[in-house]
Symmetry: C2
Subunit: 387 residues, 2 copies
């Protein structure tokens, strides 16, 4: 990258079923927080990039009304989408607009209002993100089933159990109970998960992330601006990795990990010139509990097949070897598609600044990572940050 | 911008009602042509950016299947959207991914298959791009009416006539008749336009661009790669301007031009360090005939109110002072939203390389411009190229 880029402001709305706001008001919640956090006004922003999947709400072209409502007219030339990794695609674009020299301060806004359509419609929309003709149309496959195929293969090859997967959900709810902005704040037990309704075996209701409304905003700046604005604790972008894969699950080479996530991670580690074992904090894309276990492996925290061990040993808890998702993860913090990737950067920024309150992890090297997957690895982004 | 970026390959599918292909096959038509034009294979591409509005077809997440079909797995992390300026938003992103230093060769693919839904549904989807609650929902305003409001105001203030507007459509069809890839290849007269069905007075059917299927692809490269690949005639990106505006027409300050287009043009001229009168060739966003007249003025080719004079005097014809839309424009070449902005870059590249055959304009300075508007100026991009 030609210029160093840092995070200088972050905001995160309350996630959940947000019938109380329009998509514009929902976006503003995080935009306002991010502007205040960076001590900037709208006039200071050069460009905004809006990440939104926009398939489940009344505003199917959300960028202009969101931009207008947030006082950003003239600065919002683009909406980006990468399914569940939409938020990271907005960050990716924003970072490059600064590194290119075109802009000095760029705001990435991620927002989706997903509860405006009923759950079955929402699942059908999600299912169309796979191979439409051969998988959704002919077999009715939707996203829980895609991940169920991965889970059963992981169980068969590596002995991963339903109890192992349940541990990911239990951890997510434990930490979400400490996060005022989380969608779900109730604690759950392994037994609760195992007894919950089967969606697509072995995936049960409590193995699954919810359909959420929410927004998250990140303000990025060039090194020159960081100095000029005398930012206290800039959080630097050290590595960005991206990849993509076929949406046709039957054409994948294996079903125990996501090739796109591994490819994105390799690119990010290479750019940051670090190894997986340098990561002290990670947000991983736990859309289903098996996805958290696969993420540990795809990111190189452990070798393939051993992801569940990290959960069993508590290594991904606060102050563990690599703390993961201490704000509650997609599972319990919530998963508004456009916001998720930026909410991960919000979380990593709060952690690296040591502003994470009851869930503050203790750092030695101050190196953290975001792992955001679109679909079942149709898209993947891995980004590395330090302070 | 931190690095010089050039166009090194372009492709454009046949535009029209393309029932003969899927969106993937449609994309491949222009991807294949662009790869052959640049003498590259898929392995040489670092990243692709896919521009598609994706609202009118069966594939609502088109990027993964398009990417897979075109042999670009692993390289397609993002879909971008900016309504009718979607193609330019893909170019904007691609150019920045090179200028940032992240990539050396980036492909921007623009594709939309818009005829898979009926025209009334398509208009309704378009209408929702305005202010949903106050304009579409309450008054049923769709895009022809938005532009009709601009047209009547332009007529009232400046004496622009229905005949003047008709001249833009006649010019578009004249040149499209020479373009094998155009949606419509029939010549029309001023009388044909005036007698055609009124859609929203003063806009008639033949003042309006069609709903088209199509794709266009542009391959960009860094200066280093241009040298390494020994590209014969690189077409350099000299200026990129972008802007956005409210989608709430009633909140606009005036109705005789698009503020976003003027803002984007000012940014592009400033970056390119040239004046409007340096432009010898332009593609302008003639979604309706009045839009072409307003574009001449918003781009500074003439002062506000005098756009129609350029048409009456034939100044925007081949070998005129500034030739405009010699491939047929949105009106007759067609307007597949995701493709349009990239098709404009295809056109400008062919012209600057002097590969435009029967419609080759004669250049002195070899400076050309693209002007691509999303909605009624919700988005605008102006880009300047030279050889």
């Amino acid at each position: 990258m030609n210029r160093k880029v840092a995070v200088i402001g972050v905001g995160n709305s309350k996630f959940g079923k947000r019938d109380d706001v329009t998509i514009k008001e929902l976006a503003w919640e995080s935009v306002k927080e991010a502007l205040e956090d960076a001590n900037l006004a709208q006039k200071d922003i050069d460009i905004t990039v809006i990440g939104s999947t926009a398939y489940r709400g009344t505003e199917i072209y959300p960028a202009p009304p969101v931009s207008e409502y947030c006082g950003l007219i003239g600065k919002s030339p683009i909406r980006v989408e990468a399914a569940c990794a939409t938020g990271s695609s907005a960050a990716f674009t924003a970072i490059n607009l600064i590194a290119s020299g075109l802009a000095d301060i760029v705001m990435a806004i991620g927002v989706d209002k997903m509860t405006e359509v009923d759950t079955s419609t929402s699942l059908a929309i999600g299912g169309r993100g796979g191979n439409y003709y051969w998988e959704f149309h002919m077999y009715g496959t939707t996203f829980p089933t895609y991940y169920a195929l991965y889970a059963t293969r992981h169980m068969a090859l590596f002995g991963t159990t339903e109890e192992d997967m349940a541990l990911a959900s239990v951890k997510a709810h434990k930490y979400a109970s400490l996060n005022e902005k989380a969608h779900f704040r109730n604690k759950i037990t392994v037994e609760d998960v195992l007894k919950s309704r089967v969606i697509s075996w072995p995936i049960k209701l409590l193995d699954s992330s919810p359909i959420s409304d929410g927004s998250a905003t990140v303000i990025f700046a060039s090194e020159e601006k960081v100095r000029e604005l005398k930012i206290d604790t800039p959080i630097w972008v050290k590595g960005i990795g991206y990849s993509s894969d076929t949406s046709y699950i039957a054409a994948r080479g294996e079903w125990v990990g996501l090739e796109a996530a591994r490819d994105a991670a390799a690119k990010a580690y290479k750019m940051a010139k670090i190894s997986p074992l340098d990561i002290e904090y990670a947000t991983v894309h736990d859309c289903f509990s098996i996805a958290e276990i696969m993420a540990y492996e795809d990111l190189g925290f452990v070798e393939k097949g051993k992801g569940a061990e990290l959960l069993r040993e508590g290594q991904t808890e606060k102050d563990g070897k690599v703390a993961v998702n201490l704000f509650g993860g997609l599972k319990a913090k919530g998963h508004p598609l456009g916001a998720t990737g930026l909410s991960m950067i919000y979380e990593v920024t709060k952690q690296l600044r040591e502003e994470a309150g009851p869930v503050q992890h203790s750092f030695k090297r101050y190196v953290a990572l975001t792992h955001n997957v679109g679909g079942t690895g149709h898209y993947a982004y891995v980004m590395i940050f330090n302070r």
